[in-house]
């Protein structure tokens, strides 16, 4: 399971950090890697797979915030282990730097070396726990100004959603002190759900899935024990016994197909009262990942029409309707639709009084793009586009266009109805009352409507 080298490259291929643990891989591995990734295939669309072999050296990489985190080895290792490790290294570094990007990385590369020294020794993983690492790492992070931060992680979206959330909290280093010199006692629990839905051309749901995570980031001193209570009507695993499970169709109860847990989580009373107990380690980590294919109400209904309107013309109408309560507001919505290849021009007609909407036709990839700053629950929005073609077409125009895909974020809303009923912190004293933030968010993973 040993890796030989670890390095981080910028998007342009510069070394940001480079560590050789076993001196088994010849020099120039960073260049070899970068060339291979950049020019993977003559086909421009094909992305380099995360694992490949060049001259007996195996290269593993994950892309995080535009940076390549790379490991090399000559050994036939477990691929999941290395990829997991790379992702984990990125997370540890983020815990330390607060914000992970090329700038913060470059400013703190000595600290990163310090971390790497403790994370891996002679190619063997020692620890990736921020908590454990804290006692070995002495550099103070140089925290970059929050103003320069970019929204890079799901948690960053909260800064736009709810005003009462302290936006910088989630980008706070686990070790850095506040300017005031005092650490605020607080804990964040985020329920993040990524949903995938495919609608058929006639509008019914072909596939739907929720991939959820309960993410935690604790800034509590003294590592108190925490109990999280989930819905009492939560059920896990419907695969085997769905035949006898009448509840699944009645709509009551949350049925997860499957879930897994962080190693710190104890499930002693999970079966009886659906509570998870844990002593949260420092840093950000997923308490629980879950997957759900139980039917749910998709947050948006999409209706698309494409019609020929003359010899070289066609009209597209896209209607989206928000199917969630009116006190919920979705933000950063984009709608995309590939248009027929011979489309030369598209003119748009937004609804009257539309604010915060933009529409565009990307000539290079023949893509219609419609973006909306926000959509209030219950609202409906329409886009009309007139297309001009450069040549006559034959056959079915619907086969030449679509499907329509959407991305969006809906804060304080989750489609699965999974809830954190309460978040209990073992008390140290009666005056101890740290801030607890329990936040929900729904995001589109793959939200597609065929036409």
């Amino acid at each position: 399971m040993m890796i030989s080298q670890f390095f981080v490259l910028s998007q342009r291929g510069d070394n940001i950090v480079f560590r050789d643990y076993r001196a088994e891989v010849p020099k120039g591995s960073t260049e070899t890697f970068f060339r291979k990734v950049k020019f993977w295939k003559e086909d421009a669309n094909a992305e380099a797979p995360p694992i490949f072999n060049v001259d007996g050296v195996n290269y593993f990489h994950v892309k995080v915030v535009g940076l390549y985190f790379v490991a090399t080895t000559r050994v036939n290792v477990s691929p999941s282990l290395v990829l997991e490790l790379l992702q984990r290294i990125a997370r540890v570094i983020k815990d330390y730097l607060g914000v992970l990007n090329e700038d913060s990385f470059r400013k703190n590369f000595v600290l990163v070396y310090e971390l790497l020294d403790e994370v891996i020794d002679f190619g063997y993983v020692q620890t990736t726990s921020t908590e454990v690492l804290k006692s070995y790492v002495f550099n103070e992070p140089i925290v970059i100004a929050p103003a320069r931060l970019q929204p890079i992680d799901p948690a960053a979206i909260f800064t736009q959603g709810a005003k009462r959330m302290p936006g910088t909290a989630v980008t706070k280093s686990v070790v850095a002190n506040d300017p005031s010199g005092r650490r605020r006692e607080e804990i964040f629990v985020d329920i993040i759900e990524k949903i995938s839905v495919t609608f058929s051309s006639s509008g019914y749901i072909l596939t739907s899935e929720i991939d959820g995570t309960i993410q935690m980031k604790s800034y509590l001193s003294g590592n108190p024990e925490i109990r999280i209570a989930l819905n009492e009507d939560l059920n896990i695993g419907r695969g085997g016994r769905s035949v006898y499970d009448y509840r699944s169709s009645s709509g009551s109860g949350v049925i997860l197909d499957d879930c897994n847990f962080h190693e710190s989580v104890r499930l002693d009373s999970f079966d009886s009262d659906r509570t998870l107990s844990l002593v949260p380690p420092d840093g950000e980590f997923p308490v629980m990942n879950y997957r759900m294919t139980q039917e749910f109400k998709p947050p948006f209904h999409v209706n698309t029409l494409i019609e020929e309107a003359g010899r070289l013309k066609a009209e597209v109408i896209i209607k989206i309707r928000a199917e969630f309560p009116s006190d919920i507001i979705a933000n950063t919505i984009t709608v995309q639709m590939p248009l027929p290849n011979f489309t030369s021009r598209a003119s748009f007609e937004l609804e009257p009084g539309a604010a915060g909407q933009k529409s565009d036709f990307k000539e290079t990839n023949k893509m219609l793009e419609w973006s909306l700053k926000k959509i209030v629950g219950g609202a409906e929005h329409t886009l009309r586009a007139k297309l001009t073609f450069s040549q006559e077409f034959h056959g079915n125009i619907t086969k030449e266009a679509g499907p329509v895909s959407m991305t969006f974020t809906i804060p304080m809303y989750n489609v699965s109805k999974l809830q954190v009923k309460y978040l209990q912190i073992a008390k140290k004293s009666s005056s101890y009352n740290p801030y607890r933030w329990v936040r929900y968010v729904t995001q589109a993973n793959s939200y597609v409507a065929r036409i």
């Binding site: 950090v17 669309n45 036939n76 999941s80 992702q87 002679f122 499957d258 590939p338 793959s446």
Partner: protein, 840 residues
């Protein structure tokens, strides 16, 4: 490593200016070295940072080595760490200077702060300078006994580092024994885990020359030790858990209770959020239950859900690693995943490497119950904006069509693709329709009517064009325009750049001629003339061959070029089952990602944990070892080494990438037979031999041989050494080195085929003719053998690869010989021996 272009924030880069900056640094460092002024550590920090940053981007800063060491006298731990990092990086290249560091590192190893002791010990062991190892022994010895666990973990890994610098020093100091005792008694889990990792590495490397190490290595797999680890697995961190699980995979359980005990101990590991832990657990479960069919199947059901959750919870990269493993499981047991097909639908924003994997999985899962839905979904992708994925999707539909019995609905779908009028869609579809017709000629009527309507002008891709031309020739009687389309294409001979297409044009013109002579005669004449004048050797040879055969006898020509159609039963692109099993044995490794066994892409010393399974695993997995075939079984691994080389070749012949193979002959061996045809015409004796009325490939073959280079008086006097022996490894090496001196095809008599139910029957038979089997594999109808024989009284070896297809009753052999001139004589002996196979 040349320095990459640095960003504006780091104005250091190009070598020349880098050099002057380094000199600058050097003098600044020197000034600070002796200073004890307040704030000096801060200035040092800045300078050290600069040095490290140069080092990172590849500027050689080794020239400041001395100054760095001088500055290292400090109590500032951040400074110390930077200094250690620097020293570790440059010590190897500056062994003399490294001696300077020994002093302060050894002193730090005795520091009262355990952190400093640990760091210093780690740096000391990382110097990688062989003549400094004597300085390591003392600090390592005390490090292993340190009362601080941080120091002990570092010391344990330090022992491994020492082993890699000087194995004998490490063994002589009896460090492995100390590690073993620490592994069993230390209270710190990470110390224990590092001991396990270090001992596994050391003993595996030692095992090749030390029996004791071999025993020690096996003792790691003893029942008490395995349970010692598994019982306390939760005390270890997730990475160490992977290490333990990887060890447990190699454990051979004593009975079924043992198996269930282990599975119960590890059951909750399947709920771990770390995919590596889950996959390692899955591997333990799969390997443990291999011999228990029912339980094995339950394991599949059990692991399905956790793996699917991991696929959707991680980054695309992590999903890819998990999906690759699911892919392997899906291909092994498609029925278990048949109802989960929707999980493998592509999402529009997934990277193409994930999509491709999913398409393959959908193809594998398709069965009677889900084909309709899967094909419907795949058809959606065919209109995808990503052209590569669209192509793959169409190929997937084609593959499903080929593997299903009831292809009716799918054929319609495929034909609908042709109506989409997208060039690449049409091109892919044509290739698939061609393959479909080769396997299911009964669909010709439906397909041909649609294909006939395609304008050949719109088809540019060589493979698609070749497919269309093949269909025009093969079904000339059903397509009224066939001769005219061909004529049109032939008239543009000069513009046709692909030799593959020109070869097909020749063959199609011939076929068409036999069916509709009056309409094709003129075109065929032009084609043959153009072909003979063609600069491409294959095209030239084929044209000349056709010309001569036609000249000789038109009926013979027809029998050769246009034999009655026969359906292809299986395409030769599937990986052999041994390869698949081998990859399965290497579950949770790169073998699964690359879909190749590890010996293909790693050298022996880097196969890592699988060194164990080579020896232990294979015997437990292949229980039916009968005594007289031991040599073949024992060296199964090497056998597979060899088998794969041809397997890859087969891949190339496969569906998706039909190379220049002629579709004339209805067998997989079409390539060979067409080569033989070509061989035949270049022979000067051609007309003489073809006067025989019987005309089959064997005759052609004989013909080809008579023209073989270096004709020998082929005396059948070759005597073989009945007791010859060759180590499979030597065989393998030889096989790689020697060129093929002879390649032939024989018919196997029916009695022989009847006797060839298992490879062993032939192995025994050949052995009685002093031809010994080194390795064998395969199952009906394809068998593959590697034989070895030695000339009597002389150490000259003959290596033979023999592939027998029992349904076509053909044996293809390739001979490699130390003495090329007698390879024909050997082949004769071989053929004689083979011909007696199955005879009473």
């Amino acid at each position: 490593m040349p320095p990459p272009a640095a960003s504006s924030r780091y104005p250091s880069p190009s070598q020349p200016s880098g050099k002057s900056e380094v000199t600058d640094l050097k003098s600044q460092l020197r000034q600070l070295a002796g200073s004890r002024a307040p704030g000096v550590d801060d200035s040092k920090r800045d300078l050290f940072k600069k040095v490290i940053s140069y080092m990172t981007i590849g500027i050689d800063v080794s020239s400041v080595f001395g100054e760095m060491v001088m500055c290292s006298a400090t109590s500032d731990i951040v400074l110390k760490k930077m200094c250690y990092l620097y020293v570790g990086n440059y010590a190897k290249g500056n062994p003399d200077l490294s001696l300077l560091t020994i002093n302060f590192l050894q002193r730090d190893c005795k520091d009262e702060d355990p952190m400093i002791r640990g760091l210093a010990l780690r740096s000391l062991c990382s110097l990688r300078v062989p003549n400094l190892v004597e300085y390591l022994l003392g600090p390592l010895g005390s490090g292993l006994k340190d009362n601080n666990s941080y120091v002990r973990t570092i010391a344990v890994t330090g022992v491994l580092k020492l082993y890699h610098i000087s194995a004998s020093t490490c063994i002589d100091a009896e460090f492995p024994a100390t590690l073993k005792s620490l592994m069993l008694h230390d209270s710190d889990a990470q110390v224990v885990a590092n001991c396990l990792a270090a001992l596994q590495e050391i003993w595996s490397l030692e095992a090749s020359h030390s029996e004791e190490a071999c025993r020690e290595k096996e003792s790691l797999l003893s029942k008490p030790l395995i349970y010692y680890f598994l019982n306390r697995i939760k005390e270890f961190n997730e990475w160490a858990q992977c290490l333990i699980l990887e060890l447990a995979v190699k454990y051979v359980p004593s009975d079924s209770n043992d198996i269930f005990d282990i599975m119960n101990l590890l059951e909750d590991r399947l709920q771990h959020a770390n995919g590596a832990v889950v996959l390692a657990t899955v591997k333990v479960f799969l390997q443990l239950t291999l011999s228990m069919t029912d339980v094995h199947q339950q394991v599949y059901e059990r692991i399905k859900s956790p793996l699917l959750t991991l696929v959707s919870s991680g980054s695309p990269e992590q999903s890819y690693a998990i999906l690759s493993h699911l892919h392997l499981l899906v291909v092994r047991a498609p029925f278990i995943f048949a109802s989960d097909y929707k999980h493998f639908y592509c999402q529009y924003n997934e990277p193409s490497y994930v999509k491709k994997l999913k398409l393959e999985m959908l193809t594998a899962i398709a069965n009677e119950s889900n084909t309709y839905e899967i094909v419907t979904e795949l058809c959606e992708y065919a209109a995808n904006v990503d052209i590569e994925i669209a192509r793959e999707s169409i190929r997937a539909v084609g593959k499903i069509a080929l593997q299903q019995y009831d292809v009716n609905a799918i054929v319609d779908r495929l034909l609908q693709f042709l109506e989409m009028e997208k060039d690449y869609v049409t091109a892919e579809t044509l290739v698939l329709v061609k393959d479909l017709l080769r396997k299911h000629p009964q669909w010709s009527h439906d397909c041909i009517s649609v294909v006939g309507g395609i304008s050949s002008k719109n088809i540019q891709e060589p493979k698609a064009k070749a497919a269309l031309i093949w269909m025009l020739g093969e079904y000339a009687q059903d397509m009224s325009d066939a001769p005219y389309i061909l004529e049109n294409l032939i008239e543009n001979w000069e513009e046709e750049h692909s030799a593959e297409v020109r070869l097909h044009l020749l063959t199609a013109a011939m076929k068409c001629f036999f069916k509709r002579a009056p309409e094709t005669q003129k075109a065929l004449g032009i084609a043959l003339a153009a072909g003979i004048a063609d600069f491409h050797q294959d095209v030239h040879d084929r044209a000349l061959f056709y010309y001569r055969v036609l000249q000789y006898d038109v009926h013979v020509a027809e029998r050769v070029v246009s034999p009655p159609q026969q359906a292809v039963s299986a395409f030769a692109d599937t990986q052999s089952s041994e390869i698949k099993d081998r990859i399965f044995d290497e579950f949770n490794s790169l073998s699964v990602i690359y879909q190749k066994p590890s010996y293909i892409f790693t050298d022996k010393e880097h196969r890592g944990p699988f060194e164990f399974s080579d020896e232990l695993g294979s015997t437990s997995i292949t229980p039916e070892v009968s005594s007289d075939i031991v040599p073949a079984q024992q060296f199964e691994a090497n056998d597979k080494d060899l088998l794969l080389s041809t397997d890859e070749k087969d891949d190339n012949k496969g569906l998706s990438s039909n190379n220049g193979s002629a579709y004339t002959a209805p067998y997989e061996s079409s390539n060979i037979s067409s080569q033989m045809q070509e061989l035949a015409i270049s022979g000067p004796a051609a007309s003489a031999t073809t006067t025989q009325s019987s005309f089959d490939f064997d005759d052609l073959l004989g013909l080809g041989l008579s023209t073989a280079p270096a004709p020998t008086p082929s005396p059948p006097l070759l005597k073989l050494n009945a007791r010859a022996a060759l180590d499979p490894r030597a065989f393998q090496q030889k096989w790689r080195q020697l060129p093929i001196s002879l390649s032939q095809e024989y018919s196997v008599n029916p009695q022989g085929i009847a006797a060839l139910t298992v490879p062993q029957s032939l192995i025994k038979h050949m052995q009685s003719h002093s031809i010994h089997c080194i390795a064998s594999g395969g199952q009906s109808p394809n068998f593959k053998f590697f034989f070895f024989a030695q000339k009597e009284a002389e150490p000259l070896d003959y290596l033979t690869e023999c592939i027998i297809n029992s349904s076509s009753a053909k044996a293809q052999i390739k001979v490699k010989a130390d003495e090329q001139s007698t390879s024909q004589a050997f082949a004769t002996v071989f053929e004689t021996a083979l011909s007696k196979f199955g005879m009473p």
